[in-house]
Amino acid sequence: MRSLNPPGEHDRDRVREAARVPDKASEAAGLWHTRWRAQLVFGVAVLVPVLALFASLRFVPMFQTFRFSLYDWALGAPTGRFIGLANFGALLADDAFRDAFWNTLVFCAGTTLPTLALSLALAELLNRRIARPTYYEMLFFVPVVLSLVPVSIVWKWIYEPKYGLLNYLLSLVGISPRAWLFDPQLVMPAIIVMSIWKGIGFYLVIFTAGLRNIPRDYFDAACIDGASWWSAFRFVTLPLLRPMLLFALVWASIQNLNVFTQVYVMTLSYGSAGTFGRPVQVLVLDIYNNAFRYFRLGYASAEAAILFLTVLVISVIQLRLLRERA
């Protein structure tokens, strides 16, 4: 502590203070030492188990995915034969894989973009000065709460060709019935529609919270300046919502690249999934089939490695956008 008083005054105080310094220092050093020890004990007690779990449940299996992908290895066999990149070469020539990869990208884009657009539009509607917006928010959230398997079963029943609700509703406006889940042209859109329905509420809540954080004044100012609804949305809402939009984009893309449950359940027929579902054969389903139906451990790992890299590349690109613009 330095005193700003001119020398001469409070001399006695200063001397006393100076005399106390070594005491304080040693006290502080003692305190620092015990604290350091206490933190060491606690830190080790926390980090050792957490890192052990991370190593065994995350890092090792991730590394093994890439290692296995270089082997010709049957599931259950003690070891495999090293074949370099041959699995990847075989994958590129494999129609089932190419279909699955393409279908996954189509599903991901086809689900992510409409889900985000619709939930943003609904959030914008809720953000107008309407009464009771939270009631709507909760009702929209209900499909998020319902778990995916029961929901897939219900939609399967709605899409049912003979007695399904959808065909009935469409018949009211003169559209003839379709076999939604059996028609190779329609099965992907049908599953996409169901997935959009399931996801909207989640992103709606995130966007609504984001919109609520934007001060009203901004909109009022835009309004006074004579901005149209569109330009207020474009130049006020969108830039201020960017962090949430990008979080939603990354999260939804990862979720949708890993689509599996609804495809498995909705194309599950007479005990075997995906047999008539070739038009919606997605990457995770193909990995599952290769590993557990054909027992091709190495091949399935190579496919998983491609999924791994796809997820990584897509999320890194999206995060770059986040960092650049934010």
Binding site: A38, V145, V149, A209, N213, N258, T261, V316
Partner: protein, 279 residues
């Protein structure tokens, strides 16, 4: 200040509400359809044109569903793995989050970044070696094996660290000077001050674990350890086209989460909003 009454405002309000009510109806219809179908006798399930309300309400589908599949067992299993997984994630995330937020040690950055790097990688991408590893540990077809992927979450550690960073150091130092141990500080200062973040993370993780499907599908064989999600699929392959009992079983499957949501509705919404704002 708005003028008290303007016709244009009122009609805009009415139009907005109309649009919203219509969208809500579409969102809720599948749930309503499921519940109502579950109370219909078989003759009313497969009829054309379909009717929304059952003409004769029956519990037949429910008794059938409970007879043919151990639904209670499935529910208990789902509850066990979701609760255990959520508690484990909360504990590991809060403790590791505290260490990463408030401690200084060599290599901290590197370790934290290594953990953070896995945030984007979903289980599906490394599930095959994960499976062989769990098989090697002889945890196939066990509840322990089921809960294993959900003991830690890098997103949880990141989320808790962000929150704990906002707790002032002075508070912790004051406790230390008063002789509080680190365990005491963690249990009595960090955890209570993080209650909102913890409940947000908890709700999110509980929902996430409850709906897990691929992993249970891979490692369970016996109905004894099946979760509700998996049990329902198993059940579906037994019934194929009998939608009545299937809707009953599905209704039972969604009921626990629906009840939790109805009770904690505000908290659930706030939690999801918080993960979005913080994430």
């Amino acid at each position: 200040m708005k003028p008290a009454f303007r016709l244009a405002d009122v009609s805009a309000q009415v139009a907005t509400h109309l649009l919203l009510v219509l969208s809500v109806a579409v969102m809720i219809l599948p749930l309503v359809w499921m519940v109502l179908t579950s109370f219909k006798p078989p003759v009313e399930v497969n009829i054309w044109p379909p009717r929304l309300l059952p003409q004769q309400w029956t519990l037949e589908n429910y008794t059938l569903a409970f007879q043919r599949a151990p639904l209670v067992r499935f529910l208990v299993n789902s509850a066990i793995i979701s609760v255990v997984g959520t508690v484990a994630i909360l504990l590991t995330s809060a403790a590791a989050g505290y260490v990463f937020a408030k401690y200084d040690f060599p290599g901290k950055e590197v370790i934290f970044i290594a953990i953070l790097a896995t945030i984007m990688i979903p289980l599906e991408a490394y599930i095959v070696p994960f499976f062989t590893q769990v098989a090697r540990w002889r945890l196939m077809d066990t509840l322990v094996g089921l809960v294993l992927p959900n003991l830690i979450a890098s997103s949880g550690i990141f989320f808790m660290r962000q929150h704990i960073l906002s707790i002032p150091d002075a508070l912790l130092d004051a406790a230390r000077i008063d002789g509080a141990s680190e365990f005491y500080i963690f249990g009595r200062i960090i955890l209570p001050l993080s209650s909102s973040a913890l409940s947000a993370l908890g709700i999110f993780m509980f929902m996430f674990i409850w709906t897990a499907f691929l992993w249970p599908l891979m490692i369970t064989n016996s109905t004894q350890v099946m979760t509700m999600e998996l049990g329902l699929t198993f059940f579906q392959s037994m019934f194929t086209i009998e939608y009545g009992p299937m809707m009953a079983a599905s209704t039972i499957a969604v009921l626990p989460m629906l009840i939790v949501f109805v009770i904690l509705r505000r908290r659930v919404i706030e939690s999801i909003a918080m993960t979005g704002l913080r994430g």
